[in-house]
Symmetry: C2
Subunit: 279 residues, 2 copies
Amino acid sequence: MQRPIAVFDSGLGGLSVVRALRALLPAEDIVYFGDTARVPYGIKSHRTVAQFALEDARFLLRHEPKLIVAACNTASALAMDELEAGLPLPVVGVVRPGARAAVGAARGRPIAIIGTEATIGSRAYEEAIRRLDPAAEVVSQPCPLFVPLVEEGRGCDDAIVRLTVETYLGPLRAQRIGAIVLGCTHYPLLRGAIAAQLGPEVEIVESGQETARAVRAVLAAAGDLCSSAAPGTMRFFVSDNPARFRAIGSGFLGHDIEHVELVEPHDYIASAQLEGQTP
Amino acid sequence: MQRPIAVFDSGLGGLSVVRALRALLPAEDIVYFGDTARVPYGIKSHRTVAQFALEDARFLLRHEPKLIVAACNTASALAMDELEAGLPLPVVGVVRPGARAAVGAARGRPIAIIGTEATIGSRAYEEAIRRLDPAAEVVSQPCPLFVPLVEEGRGCDDAIVRLTVETYLGPLRAQRIGAIVLGCTHYPLLRGAIAAQLGPEVEIVESGQETARAVRAVLAAAGDLCSSAAPGTMRFFVSDNPARFRAIGSGFLGHDIEHVELVEPHDYIASAQLEGQTP
């Protein structure tokens, strides 16, 4: 039996990363955990996000994955050090792949980063970009209303969405940016409204697509890519509200979600506490 | 030493209830717990909200309160049965006082309830109103963007706030409602925009003010009102991000918050689990 790719997120946004993984690596099995009991992470502190991310990842270790994807931008921005130090397998976050793609796409012009309050506050994208191009100019804009707008089911033609996009991103037009990173897994669902606001000369980078490529590169280097011709399986776990996850999540995944399994608190909180004592 | 009134909320919104308590009962000591690590509750399931609410309340029991206020509308709407069954002291929620005030204010005309997805989905306000007036006509409207709008610091003059209020509440105008219940502790900060949308003939009911009156009535009936002439003390505990709580919370409380204490996960999660085994 092949070992799966494990993916975790604060909630359902990480399904847009799963969608990119399925498109690029259709034979891989995927096991997903969405921490819907404690969502969102984007308004929370470093220590709490790091603790939650480790708990999420350790729950997924039971499925003996070959690699873990931190599909949550906030967790990737705040907790990659803790995840890499605390887990016995490769971890791929969404920030470094997104930063790499942005540097390529911007062709020397300024790069805009949009994300949650915590992601922007962490300056993680900015630092990842500067490691690749120390001269890069980066402008950052938190967009805290985008997640609730998407979760309410509002699309790119909605009047509140259009006004909110204009309010957050209108000021960026004067900066003549070359690329914008959608630094939150919910934002691809507003891509049309963002593109309409910024115009065709701005490249839009979705971290999910870049992350799928990074996962493929890591697995290929380790000789761990699945060689099966059959499509891989998917399993979905959440810490709360499977019905809401199914209803909203299908828009992120691109098709219906048939079955979602509810995880009891002691299965992801207590196990992490016990394991945390013997690292 | 007098015993305090304990107040809990999913985050900082409950500070608007504290403000009402301070105005009505200035001599009472207050101890507050905001579960900012797991906020918001309004998109979560009954079982998770009930579990979190009991953990929040049990943490506050250490301060030997004489009464507990569930200042969170979602917790009051979903978990009052569990709180009353699981706690050894009087519990006052915000739903029943708000429903009582709405019936009085509407004078036979329809009553509108606005709140989070979970509060509206629970139909708790509707049921509380029908127990008081079986013929009452109730219209309900979830307003999921209001909390993030307030937390971002947007006020009643903000263009996105005005458009969102119009989108949610404009359709209510055809219903000729007599009163609207602000069924979420964040909504009083948007009162001006809500009033402008609905016009002067609609009474606006803030559950916090009604809840403070209910607390006074319960304490008076038990002979437990504080007789001191000195102003009471206040202590604030949160499960995450004290700095954010201080910064945003002062707008809810009406004055600066000097000191906020951070609670460790095992202090509110583990204790509830242990106590839960010997109810």
